[in-house]
Amino acid sequence: MTPKDLLYAETHEWVRIAEEGGRKVATVGISDFAIQQLTDLVHMVLPKVGTQLKAGQEFGEVESVKAVSSLYSPVTGEIVAVNSDLPNKLESLGSDPYVGGWMIKVAISDESSLAKLMDAAAYERQCAAEG
């Protein structure tokens, strides 16, 4: 199931937008579809808090046994939190991609990139075409 309350990037990241402390913060992870496609994940590299990101910029990597995939930021802003425990419990990512599987939180500094993101229905159409 693709949660309806999230936005999605072409590169399979999901985004949850919320107000935190008077600013817009994007929580970012990767979709269930992406996790299935990557098969068993064995390693993940996440960035540090404070890193500045532009929409479309690489912020980390996930690895399966024989593939490496880059993670791309769907938004522009500064990283304010990182789920640093996630790389140690990759086996659980598949069963909980949208809550426990969050990777970074970004304080959005430029909202124009949000316009490029898809809603759940559009993203599901993309996945059907790829799958």
Partner: protein, 489 residues
């Protein structure tokens, strides 16, 4: 007879006080080591190596050897790796004391025979390549690629041209982009077209005056000769770029066509493949490179030169990129290549390629009705088949076929490479296999495709171990034995 006890690790066999080697007593008057080595540098005791008796060393490693497939024991059609017969005469020649027991910094006049051999090898490799300037220094094919790209970089620096890009097709070996990066270039991928060749429109779109080198594997990783190669060379040269030929597939064109004649400016050989040096369980190789006369000025030093009947290691090359490894090169591998070339001669080398191509086409003709070959009606020395229809119709993957072939006593082909063919199986029989062996391999494939998918998913069944859990190995890597890791379950 296989002895399963061999899988006990050396460290588990260790017993305090056991030992293999015995050494002579010290025959010189000298102080104790405690007086000779500064206390700050001296260890309290030797490192915690295992303690085993010599018979155990022999039995342990000998039994381990029986757990390997090898060219000496099995058909090994591992595409792109050219697993041909490794002639025993070459092993004997390379082990001659007058060859094997030479110190790399010995004075030149004490190694004239070896230098004569290496000089002649340079000439022969240059002739086969159609590129006269040769460096024997690189340690492996990938190292040869890197060295050649450094040569190109030095050439453009000398010309005062700031060229930043290396281009190669999407079917290229992973070493191409990795070498480009190490040589300081940006890497740009060029698409393949529907026939598996370089997409000329995409190449044209990506060609500009920033190009330093276009890297091409020809015959390609699909086992096809790209007829466009001279046109590619023409347009790359017109932009001031150079052509690098990845010589991985030279086994198809020895004495038939020469890279220098079809537009290459630089190339490497894999003598452990093409010239039958054994692969050693994953090395050693060697990666000699051949370049044009002009680029020869930039080759690493030393190169062997002949002066008045005397052989010298020439270092006086002001434009040389310098040294890319210690000492001269992988001489042990080079000597085997020399022996191979002298054994075959010009007609024999051409016959190598003719029979390699004949065998590959024969095997392709036998299996392509069950394993379609998407690109090309004929192949060169290898072909890339696809298990995609089997996967679609029966749920059987290239990996399943590969694993089941092991049960039939055949090493598997290369699978899932090149990346441009789904469920790829890259099959290279080489010229040193018989029709009977290839027939038996084809028959095994036929039988396998009639077996139940469940049986295949669990293959191999006859080997000591079944499919290893690679996810566990990568997620929590155990890369050495420790007492805590414990014995076999």
């Amino acid at each position: 007879m296989r002895n399963l006890k061999s899988t006990t690790l050396l460290f588990e066999l260790s017993q305090p006080g056991r030992r293999g080697a015995s050494l002579p007593p010290c025959d010189v008057p000298a102080p104790e080591v405690s007086e000779l080595i500064p206390a700050a540098a001296r260890a309290g005791g030797p490192p915690p190596l295992p303690e085993v008796a010599e018979p155990e060393v022999i039995r342990h490693f000998t039994n381990l050897s029986t757990l390997n497939m090898s060219v000496d024991t099995h058909f090994y059609p591992l595409g792109s790796c050219t697993m041909k017969y490794n002639s025993k005469r070459n092993e004997r020649m390379a082990a001659l004391p007058g060859i094997a027991d030479l110190h790399p910094l010995a004075p030149e006049e004490t190694i004239q025979g070896l230098l004569a051999l290496l000089y002649e090898l340079q000439l022969m490799l240059g002739e086969i390549a159609g590129l006269p300037a040769v460096s024997l220094q690189p340690a492996a094919g990938a190292h040869g690629e890197l060295t050649a790209l450094m040569v190109a970089a030095a050439h453009f620096r000398h010309l005062g041209q700031a060229r930043t890009k290396v281009l190669a097709p999407d079917s290229a070996h992973g070493t191409n982009p990795a070498s480009a990066k190490m040589a300081g270039f940006d890497f740009v991928t060029v698409k393949s077209n529907a026939s598996g060749f370089v997409d000329m429109d995409d190449l044209a779109a990506k060609l500009d005056d920033q190009i330093a080198v276009f890297m091409i594997t020809n015959p390609s990783t699909l086992g096809l000769f790209d007829r466009q190669v001279s046109e590619i060379a023409r347009i790359v040269h017109a932009k001031g770029g150079l052509i690098y030929l990845d010589g991985a597939n030279m086994n198809a064109i020895l004495g038939i066509a020469r890279p220098g004649d079809f537009g290459a400016d630089m190339m490497h050989y894999n003598p452990h493949k093409t010239f039958s040096g054994p692969h050693g369980g994953g090395g050693p190789g060697a990666g000699p490179i051949c370049v044009t006369e002009t680029l020869g000025a930039y080759l690493p030093t030393p190169v062997v030169e002949q002066r008045n009947g005397h052989y010298v290691l020439a270092t006086n090359r002001p434009l040389s990129i310098g040294r890319v490894r210690s000492f001269f090169g992988n001489v042990g591998v080079l000597v085997r290549a020399y022996c191979y070339l002298r054994t075959h001669g010009p007609e024999g080398l051409k016959a190598v390629s003719e029979n390699a191509v004949l065998n590959a086409n024969y095997l392709m003709s036998r299996v392509k009705h069950i394993l379609p070959v998407p690109h090309g009606e004929r192949c060169m020395h290898e072909f890339v088949a696809t298990a995609a229809p089997l996967k679609k119709n029966h749920g059987v993957t290239a990996m399943d076929l590969a694993k089941r072939l092991l049960d039939f006593g055949f090493h598997a082909p290369t699978v899932y490479f090149p990346l441009t063919v789904p469920e790829a199986m890259m099959i290279e029989p080489t010229e040193t296999e018989s029709k009977e062996t290839m027939d038996a391999f084809a028959e095994a494939l036929f039988r396998i495709t009639e077996e139940s998918p469940e049986l295949l998913h669990d293959a191999p069944h006859s080997t000591l171990v079944s499919r290893p859990d690679e996810v566990q190995a990568a997620r929590k890597p155990i890369m050495k034995w420790t007492a805590e890791v414990g014995p076999a379950s």
